[in-house]
Structures are given as C-alpha cells and as structure tokens.
Symmetry: C2
Subunit: 322 residues, 2 copies
C-alpha cells in the first residue's frame, strides 16, 4: 500500500481536539479514524509510547486502511495538552485505574468526556469524577483487535451509538456535545446513531452482550455454534427475554421484536468470538461487573430479577477464579 | 483374601428370589449383597455373560468384600427362571431398551418390580409395562463403579430408600412389597429407609442431583470445588431452592432446612465426582431426561418453573451434542 492511499480524505471542520485514553481495539480504531479525518488526536497509553511514536499507528480495515506515521502518544497525563473531548476507551476492568487520569485531562476547556465502553453504569463513576463536564456514553458495534503496539486489525462493523449521560439514565434528549461528537465521527466515515435515551441503548446492547459473551465462555463456543443448537438457541432467547423484562421494569422500554432482530442478525453474522471469550482465552480479566453485576443489580432494584442471567454470572465468576 | 472370608453371613429367610437387570455399579453391588446373604439372584446382562459366569462376581467394598464364584448370569431373558422380584438397575438412558425385557421377566408369580434408578418419573413407564404387578421405586445413595465385567468397586455409602409407586406419585403408605424388599436388603447389611410417599423422596434426591450433576459437567469441577467458591455455592443453593419450590408446588412437601443439610453434608463429603460427570468424561449418555427434563416439566405443570435449572439443562444439552 502506498502512503497516499493510506490517507483518507480530511474532514471539513477538524478543529475539535481529542484525547483518547487507551490505544487498543477501540481507541486505536476510532482515534485513528478521527486523526485520519484531520482532527488533532492525542493518545494516552500505559506503556510502549516511544515505540508507537516511532512506528506510527496502523489500522488495517475492510473499510480502508489507515497509516499515521506521526501521532501524538503520551504515557504521562501531565504532558497531554488540553483537548476538547476526552475519550475513555479502556476495558471497564481498567476504569478504576483510569479514573484519576481524568483529574489531569479534564479541564475548563473540556467540552465532554466520551465513554466508549461495554455494560451498564459505566458512565456514573466517570460523571462523578468529571464534575460539571458533560459525559457522553457511546457503544461501539465493532469487531476489531489490537495486534501489537500501534497495530490494530479491524475486521468488521464499526457503528457507534451515542447519548448524553444523566444520573439514573434519565433521558437527556438531544444535546450539543452529542451532536458535535456524532458529526465528527460521521465525517470520519463512521455510521453514527444519536440517542435521546442512553439507558435504552445500554439495555439494548445488553440484550446481545449478556447471552453471547457469557455462554461463549462457559460452553467454549462461538456465536454460530450457540445458534446452531436448539438448546442454546432457546437459552439465548430466554436470557434475552430476561434482559428485555428487566429493562422494561427499569423504565427503558423497547419493543420485544428487538430480541428476534438480534437472533436473526447474529445468525447472519460471520462466526465470531465475543470479546469476553477472547479475553478469557487470553487470560485477561473479564468485564463481569459492567456486563453482569450492574445489570443484575439494576434488575433486582426494579423488581425484575434475571434468574438465568444470575446463574450465568455465578458460573463466570467460578471460572475466573476466587 | 481367602474364599472363606469372602462369604458374608447368610440371611435368615432367603427364600425370596431376585432377577437383576444390569450388572453395573448398582446391580452388581445390591444384587451381590442379596446373593451373598443367601438369596437366589439371577443377573441379566447385555454382553459378557459367559465371561462373568466363568470368573464370578467380585465386589470390593469398605463394608466387606464379596466374592461369588458361582452366579446365575443370563443374556437371554427367555432363559431366566421366574423370580419374585425383578430389579431394574440400568441407567435411565437404557430404560427404553430394557422395558421389553419386563414382558418376559414379569409373570404371574412376580411380587414386585423394583426400579433402582435416578431421577423423576422413572417408575411410570415401568408401571405401564408391568400391568398389575406393584412397582417399587428405590433410590441408592452410593458411590460405586463397575471396573469390568463382574467386577464392582464400592467406595462409600450404600443406603437405599424405597417406596411403592402410584401414578402421579400419590402417597401409597406402607405396603407389603416394600416391607418385604426392605427386610431383605436390611438383612443383607444395607441401611434401608421405607417411604410412605415416594414422590417426596424422589424430589429430595433431586435437590442434590440437579445442582451437582449438571454443574460438575458444565464447569468441569468436583463437588469440593463447587462448594469452595462463593459464586457456585450461591448458585448450588439457588438451584436447590428452585427444586424445593417446585417440589412444594407439586405437592411433595419437605422442610426447607433439607437444603442446608444437603449443603453441609456435601461439604463434609470426600471430594466426589457425581455420576453424570463420570458419564460425561467417559463419553457415555447423560441421564438428562430423568434428572432434568422430567422435573422441569413437572415444575412447569405445577406452576413453579425452575428457571435456573432450565438454563443448566440447556447447557447440558448443548454439551452432549445435537
């Protein structure tokens, strides 16, 4: 590939600056797309900053490769210049360690903190830390992997769904910070959906995440195998119905037909190992709190306990040690 | 061991004759004890009759070894003389294949058919086949294995609980056939409990069988590991509560404290792989219908669905193929 081909078109209004915490499958892909579209993007990483700075950022993707020979990479948050948007892209298992970074990265000029993570309730701790700065929750529907420092392999999908976070997932309606970020992502070539009610979006994503992530780990199976056997297809459906019931009880309503859509969409998907399965096989911590414990607690609080989801969570806890 | 030592004392009234279908961990142990106590016991096996006839039956046991150099072994049901009691000791997965044998083995002189099997509803099909002959259900609390043809290794326990079967597990009260068999077993040195309400006994055994059998397979773990982790201890408890709730709804009442007894008894047990785990690891069929499908259906019919048990059953079906 020539260097020319690697540079996608520059966005019309690339003045908004971004600081991306984490340069993995999510941070590398979305940060890379924003940078390739002309935005100033600063990456904050835990290790390997010098190597990445030397080699640049390379994203291979069926939607167009990206190669950025020069990128701003930091391992010290105090060296990062103020950005308009701070983006948290670590796994939720690293959120606790990442939170103190916000004290340094979020300043008077910060327009928003964008949380690109899985699960439920992930914005709440960030919002507490961010004070008056608006927090935007984002869900990524993407299949991508970090292959090495500064090397991301994007396989498929890439859509982002965004909404303003309010405590208790109260619907926030349209807000300027969501519109601004959504426009930037869309201009960078990404399919974007803006949500007036972030909570509904979070629960809808759980409809997929809860059954497939956990069962793929416990049963050592891909989504295709889980869909091919009538027993697990029934179990997936039943788990989805529990999530839908809990969401409804918690005030985040969507049509039950969404379950059927998820089932048929998954059957059409290329055989795919959910992120939790990849984490488990690689011996990394699983996002059990964000994807299981928090929704389970919310469901119980709403008076609609998810009994089968709870059983799956117990099994996952057993499999991941004491 | 000398031959003299291998012969236990003869029972006082060994006139009742037995035909035992199956010479495995159950049939070999209980049939062996009855034969050693002086009863005429005929064994019906699927294969290897000549070898067993030549080598005899050997049971090693902490409660006293048994060696019977001469035993009546048949592989053709038409060659088996009429017995007073016909005992079905196959796995429930073989019941369908064994049922036609009853047409030959059960005759006008048969006093009872004894079903020594796991699960729920196992007596119903036998009762249909046995016509007017009383059916007695028995549950064995035993740890034993077949090591080879005619060679049984008894490790621990051995108690039997017996009760007369009535359709729908209606309580039958004390009956002569139960008393007779119970006396024979007790005289052969076995701890025996007679039940007036067989259904309650069946459900109580499911309190143990449902959580430990399934979870040991799905999580590849022994009872000790399942009890040592707080997550699986909680899940086991929760599954037991579901079984207790379904039993109660189905009219088979026992105190909830039985759950605590099962938990503490299991913690005190020698680390132990449940029979379903042994079957799974050996590639044998699992007793899913008797231990899961039948209780699940009964619970639904009683209006108390066991949601977590259903999830576990789905997982087990997935793991055991299409």
């Amino acid at each position: 590939m020539s260097t020319d081909e690697a540079f996608p078109p520059v966005a019309r209004n690339p003045s908004r600056t971004y600081t991306v915490i984490g340069l993995g499958a999510i941070g590398g892909y979305y940060g890379g797309r924003l940078a390739a579209a002309g935005h100033t993007v600063r990456f904050l990483v835990r290790s390997g900053a010098a190597d990445i700075r030397r080699a640049g950022l390379e994203v291979t993707s069926p939607h167009g490769d990206i190669f950025l020979p020069t990128i701003d990479v930091f391992d010290d948050p105090t060296h990062v210049p103020p950005s308009d948007v701070v983006v948290l892209t670590t796994k939720t298992t690293d959120t606790l360690a990442a939170l103190p970074l916000l004290d340094t990265l979020v300043g008077p000029s910060t327009q928003a903190v964008l949380v690109l993570q899985n699960g439920l309730g992930v914005e709440a701790t960030v919002a507490e830390r961010a004070g008056e700065v608006p927090v935007v929750g984002g869900m990524c529907f993407i299949c991508s992997h970090k292959e090495g420092p500064g090397r991301i392999n994007h396989l498929d999908y890439g859509a982002v769904t965004l909404g303003r976070f309010r405590p208790g997932y109260e619907p926030a309606g349209p807000t300027p910070e969501v519109t601004g970020i959504a426009d930037d992502l869309a201009a960078a070539g990404l399919p974007v959906t803006r949500l007036d009610a972030l909570g509904t979006g979070r629960w809808k994503k759980l409809v997929w995440n809860i059954p497939y992530n956990g069962l793929s780990v416990v049963l050592d199976a891909g989504t295709d195998q889980l869909m091919a056997h009538s027993a697990t297809r029934e179990l997936v459906t039943s788990l989805m119905h529990e999530v839908h019931g809990a969401a409804t009880a918690a005030g985040h309503c969507f049509d039950l037909s969404f379950v059927d859509t998820m089932l048929t969409d998954t059957e059409k998907m290329t055989p795919y190992a959910p992120s939790m399965k990849l984490d488990f096989d690689a011996g990394r911590p699983l996002e059990l709190d964000a994807i299981y414990a928090a929704p389970i607690a919310a469901a119980r609080a709403a008076g609609a306990p998810m009994r089968q989801v709870e059983a799956l969570h117990h099994q996952l806890r057993f499999l991941t040690g004491p």
